[in-house]
């Protein structure tokens, strides 16, 4: 290696390092909107009040311009025979479970996106198409999405659905907590239509208070847990149940936010690009030293 080469080696290495460090500044800012407002809204679902009329399903489809069967058809209770999940045709579905205490009054559970306080989808999305809004909604931006479906792999509640049968412009479909409707001062469509007030829409902090109060006043009616209060770091939608949440097919989840571990690994590896740049420098040094050694051996 000539002197000139050596000089250019250092110069290029230094330049590259500087370039990467420069990048890291913008990197720190990069990322989707992820606001955890103290005033964020949520919904308290009281599954012991729900009568399974499925009007919420109808209202949701209507509000989101999805193909909607006439409301009379929702009186058909045979759909409860199979467990259903939200999919590309329905952002919310209601499932029925036995009530061992009162078999004539089965529990019905509305399922939709939980609008996590620390959403896995927001953290996972490669292009930041998901965001957590100030109003508590976790929403998806069709202008960014590339259709990779990492959100579906990441979601602890298995909520995002994908239009697998659309060749061009398939969308990720999930409950958007009526984010747009609410901006006009309206309530979420499901909470608005619910005839028995099984759905209480309000600031999440207040909902937690209400839920605790109900559990305290009617201990025989509820199990002591408010599902969603602590699960994966807390969710915007909260559930009061008469049976253990796991028996109503709620996933058993810890209290740590779903993206916690992967984000700390990710930030540990990258930490302002120090580890990669150091590795680069180290390998550069190794290359230079071994090169000199080979040169000397041959001289």
């Amino acid at each position: 290696m000539t002197n000139l080469d050596r000089r250019s080696f250092f110069k290029t290495t230094a330049l590259l390092g500087a370039g990467l460090t420069g990048l890291s500044v913008s990197e720190a800012k990069a990322g989707p909107k992820n606001i955890l407002s103290p005033d964020r809204m949520g919904v308290l679902v009281d599954t012991t009040v729900c009568i399974g009329c499925r009007n919420c399903e109808w209202a949701c489809k209507t509000a989101h311009n999805l193909p909607t069967p006439p409301i009379e058809s929702y009186e058909d209770r045979s759909v409860f025979e199979k467990m259903r999940r939200p999919d590309e045709t329905a952002l919310t579905v209601v499932n029925r479970y036995d009530n061992p205490k009162k078999p004539e009054l089965p529990y019905t559970v509305k399922v939709q996106c939980m609008h996590c306080d620390h959403p896995a989808c927001v953290s996972a999305c490669i292009v930041g198409a998901f965001s957590k809004e100030e109003n508590g909604a976790v929403i998806w931006d069709t202008g960014k999405c590339i259709g990779c479906r990492y959100c579906m792999a990441a979601c602890p509640f298995q909520i995002p659905a994908f239009e697998f049968h659309r060749a061009i412009g398939p969308k990720i479909i999930k409950c958007d907590f009526c984010s747009e409707r609410r901006k006009d001062g309206k309530m979420p469509a499901c909470a608005e239509i619910c005839p028995v007030e099984a759905l209480t829409y309000g600031p999440r902090e207040e909902l937690v208070r209400i839920a605790r109060d109900r559990v305290k006043r009617f201990p025989e009616r509820y199990v002591e847990q408010i599902y969603g209060e602590y699960e994966v770091g807390g969710t915007g939608w909260l559930y009061l149940t008469g049976r253990d949440a796991a028996e109503l097919q709620f996933p058993k989840l810890g209290r740590n936010p779903a993206p916690g571990v992967s984000e700390s690994i990710q930030h540990g590896i990258f930490a302002y690009f120090v580890p990669p740049v150091s590795l680069y420098a180290l390998l550069g040094a190794l290359m230079w030293i071994t090169k000199n050694r080979t040169d000397e051996e041959e001289a």
Partner: protein
Amino acid sequence: MEHFMRPTQMQKKFITPGVIVLILLALNGLIFLAGRFLFGIGSVTNLNNQYPWGIWIGIDVAAGVALAAGGFTTAALGHLMHREQYHALVRPALLTAMLGYTFVALGVSIDIGRYYYIWHPLIMWNGNSALFEVGICVMIYMTVLYIEFLPVVTERFIGRVNMKGFLARFNAPMDKLLRLLDRGLSKVMFVFIIAGVVLSTLHQSSLGTLMVIAGPKMHPLWQTPVLPLLFLLSAIAVGFPMVIFESMIAARSFGLKPEMEILSKLGRMIAPILGIYLAFKIGDMFIRETFVYLTTFTTASVMFMIEVLVGIVIPLRMFLSRDVLKSPLLLFIAASLVVFGVLLNRINNFVVAYTPPYSFGSYFPSVGEISVTVGFISILVLLYRAAVMIFPVISVPDKSLSSKAKYTIRG
């Protein structure tokens, strides 16, 4: 006696019975691929809202990246550590990596629903996303691989640019351009070689971070916070076996003698690396006490046992044996087992370990998915065959070379 090796174009007929089979498999894959583009991903795959990722991610992308690790491991050995005796292996490994990553990119673009938005991550960043990091690193690394391959192109065509017809007038300028490239590249190539190794360690490990966010949806036998480390170690471990694997297949296919001298030296280095990988894998299993899952007979426990025993323990024992290192057949078997083990590991991590909280039946790849994957692999092999016939990639002993001639960094 030391003999000198020189990268040479392979001279043989392109079409053989094997090649015809590969072409048929490729066509079959392309037919199913057309279905995907005309009627959506759901029409050819068994994917659904519960199983969003299948073998196109598990094999085409995850295993593809891992099995292309020969590129950066041999570059590190040959160029960073200046172990000149391995230079003969660098070019074939580089070509494999280059084609491998190209097919990873293709695999990604057919799997994502909106393939025409594949450039979005370049301008829409999410620093929290492991997938974003993998995507960006793979894009940059692929560019680096193409740059690293350029010297092979210049070597092939300098003084031999001979375009026909109206293109003939561009022959002289093209030659000049190649010479300019050649001179410029040789001065800065080290920048790209180091960058290639750094980028590889980054995305090989981040590929492991991908499934960490799936948390309890992933079987505990695989779900661990040290997944990125395991992915990196297994990628490094599969690098040299992959080089041995393909170099012996290429030798056979082109009627060359396998370079046992270099390959067994390379093979000697595999056991320690494989040992480190095994130690971390077993250590992780004992720290998290996941061995309890091995006491039951399930798909997960069986797949895990195959992965560890057939993919790591047996080849590790084989690579420790002198007889194996000397025998072409045994060396090939040992290398193939490591390749199989890492392939299975990636399938396990992305497909087998994934257990959604709600499911209406389990996932098994459809005929369409398998056809596309097999088709892609066939096209890759065909392109490799074409490339080694067009470019000087595979080294053969050259008696005319004097002891003074020696390699410079040329990729």
